[in-house]
Amino acid sequence: MRPRLRITLALFLAAILGVASAAAFDQQITSTLSAEGYSVPRADGTWIARRRIVEDLRLGAFNLLPGSADPYYRGPRLSVELALRLDTDFAVGGDESNPAMDSAYVPGLTPVHVDANVANMSAEGLWQGALDVRAGRQIRMGTLGFFAFDGAETVVHLPIGASFATYMGYEVRGGDLLGWSDLELDGTDSGGRHGLTADRFPDREDPSLRLATGAELTLSPVAWLDAAAAVQAVGLNGPIASQEVGGRMSLGGEPILADGRVVWNAMLEVLGEADAELAVTPIDALTVAAEYHLFRPTFEGDSIFNVFDIAPENDAGGRVEVRPVSAVSLAGWGFARMADGSAGIDGRAADALVSGAGGGLGGTYRTLARSLSLRLSGVWEWGEKRLGAEAGAGQAFWNRRLWLNLRLSTWHLDDAFSSRLAGNLAGYVLSGRFTLTEGAVVVGEFEHYVGGGMEQRFTALAILEIEVWR
């Protein structure tokens, strides 16, 4: 068994055994069972069937320390969480998942996949409230974005409105035992070679453990200032996979709020991301904001995608939001994408200022018994275009035990890369949500689309959610 999985399970078992004799604590079990069926068309007219069942099982134990369930308790808190997921696709053919079948095998395609999203123990408010510790498989969200790892994080809360977080562990990757790829560093296919010869899928690699570490200092000494600086490196035990330094700052509050964030890729010596927003809320019901976003794709250190001549996305735009009452939100937004100085795929001149633009109008009305929504949007870049309109309505019945929703949409697509995908399409989604009993909800959804030169497409989805507290 891999070392880090051994450590993770040991910590989890220790937590369970160690507090088994504790006074009453709260336990939560959540199960979400989804069954989905649809088909994906190929260009040659054949279809790929997808018949998926996904089970998401979460177990949690909270308030493990005596007295911590009291509403006015101010001492340390201890909790344990585990989330397991089973993802199956009954329509995956045996040949598609068999490495010996040269003409059909798709690496990474398995009919059954089991992973653990989180498995950790958290202790908050230690050392008179100054220290938080979390150990095990966890996901952190910070200035540098999402990062999933098997390890430990400590957060020290300082009296001047500051906190300092440090963490170290192994990056969670798709090819690991109980691993998943949703948040791994992008750029290489590291799902494992599974005995493939060197000439078949030569880019596919066996996963390797990548040790990562990072730190983040957060400052919030006054109500109108919130700032943070972060650093993270992945691959300390071998070739470096990523080195990033970032910072963010929020200034102001009401009526003017200024936000900024930058991420510098120290390994590639490029600015990876930069965001800035200035939002003015002159009255409670109105917000006007100007935004700027820069994104320059970067990949993990092994990947050759890093070494290409890449032009960043430069988007400048704004939005207006009106909230006349709490149940209603109306918004308009737009952006322009700055050209990179090269000629476009649609013959656009190299000195063009703008390579794309987009915008839309939207509104929602939402109460516990009813909802309405309308959204018009359009995006264009380099001769590709997507225009669409969506309208939705929902109504609750039987004292809000039953909720029915209908969503209609129509789209126009222009695809410069494939005329096959260009055209108009329209469809609807009919869904219902029924509360069987407290803690048990069943959801059903049916989707139907036509147009675009393809046969009609259908998707059926059913979900059973159960939540039990004890």
Binding site: E36, I283, L286, F308, E313, G362, E384
Partner: protein
């Protein structure tokens, strides 16, 4: 000049028209403090400010630990100053003296006892005993009448005071929470969302696009109301969330991903999530023979030069179908590096030479280091 004045006048008129809207966020939430219906009318307006002192009637206020404690005075408490209230029961006939406090009661009818709704917040008066009552109940302290439930400080007042006095400002300090510390946001008659003055406007019509900046700056703020599973249902999910993937997504995602609207990278990785499906569908160049459906002509008649120009601005989409060997086959002969690369590549070569070694011989990239 005239045009500018006209535009300014229109803007001012629009602002004036909407100025009164949205002010409900400044008041007290009726979900958190459901209105009570006391049996007396305008009781504070009938007493001089400070006479009697607040605690003379609300005897248990300073020792109360729970918001649900009944702090309104009973008839016996009133009888200390109003002897006519002594010994009164629900069966006592209504007199003009009764009506002077309980309002107009038709002849032959009884006085309806007051109802006091259970608040959906945590509030220990005991912890706030040193604050003047007028801080949170200004109308009552000034002897003014106020509708039931509206003479109470709103969240903005509470939050500002807690910040000033360095009291806890975590959501669970005042709000009801589940056993795992997550706030109760669905309360009879309402769904709670953060006020705009706290972290800027949230949960509006553009929230799916704009929540990243708020979540990235303070994930603990989101965690006050949302469990890991809520975020994971989208970012780690296996069932497509319709809000972020509208329409016939299988059909339209190719254009949407190249336009980067919505942004794919928050939830998906090109070389694992996207490539696996594209290989199966036969779109990727290294798709297995049985599923290869384009015979190498996915990009139609577009020239490689034009395709590569597009790749320069959207390499993530390219990586969703192409693995590295696709690029090496052409770029072994065509320099893919940006201008000035030879000045920048040393650090990358030193940190991780594996990317260099995929194309360059040992001698070439070692010289670079």
């Amino acid at each position: 000049m005239k045009r500018a004045l006209a535009l300014a006048a229109i803007a001012a008129a629009l602002l004036a028209a909407v100025a009164g809207l949205g002010t409900e966020s400044r008041g007290v939430s009726r979900a958190l403090l459901p209105p009570s219906r006391p049996s007396v009318v305008d009781v504070h307006g009938r007493h001089k400010p400070g006479e009697p002192a607040c605690v003379a009637c609300h005897k248990d206020a300073l020792s109360s630990r729970w918001a649900s404690d009944r702090l309104a005075p009973t008839m016996e408490d009133c009888a200390a100053c109003h002897p006519e209230a002594k010994g009164v029961t629900p069966l006592t006939p209504v007199t003009e003296a009764c009506r002077s406090c309980h309002g107009p009661v038709p002849e032959g009818r009884r006085i309806v006892p007051g109802t006091y709704a259970r608040p959906n917040v945590r509030f220990p008066h005991k912890a706030h005993a040193k604050e003047p009552c007028a801080t949170c109940h200004p109308a009552a302290a000034a002897g003014r009448a106020a509708p039931p439930g509206e003479d109470t400080a709103g969240m903005r007042t509470c939050y500002a005071c807690h910040l000033e006095r360095k009291a806890p400002v975590a959501c669970r300090t005042c709000h009801l929470v589940e056993a795992d510390g997550v706030m109760v946001t669905r309360i009879e008659g309402a769904a709670l969302t953060p006020p705009a003055w706290l972290k800027g406007p949230t949960h509006g019509a553009t929230w799916v696009q704009s929540h990243a900046s708020v979540a990235g700056s303070d994930s603990g703020f989101c965690a006050a109301c949302h469990r890991n599973k809520f975020c994971g249902d989208c970012h780690l999910g296996r069932v497509r969330p319709r809000d972020a993937h509208p329409g016939d997504w299988i059909r339209s995602h190719a254009v949407s991903s190249r336009l980067d609207s919505p942004t794919c990278r928050g939830c998906h990785r090109s070389q694992s999530f996207c490539l696996d499906c594209h290989r199966r569908q036969g779109v990727a160049p290294d798709s297995p023979k049985d599923s290869r459906s384009f015979q190498g002509r996915y990009h139609g008649d577009l020239s490689p030069e034009l395709i590569c120009r597009r790749a320069r601005t959207d390499i993530v989409s390219c990586a969703s179908c192409h693995s590295e060997s696709s690029c090496v086959s052409c770029h072994a002969a065509v320099n893919p590096h940006p201008s000035g690369w030879e000045r920048r590549c040393a650090h990358l070569a030193k940190s991780n030479p594996r990317a260099c070694a995929k194309c360059h011989s040992d001698d070439a990239w070692r010289r670079c280091r």
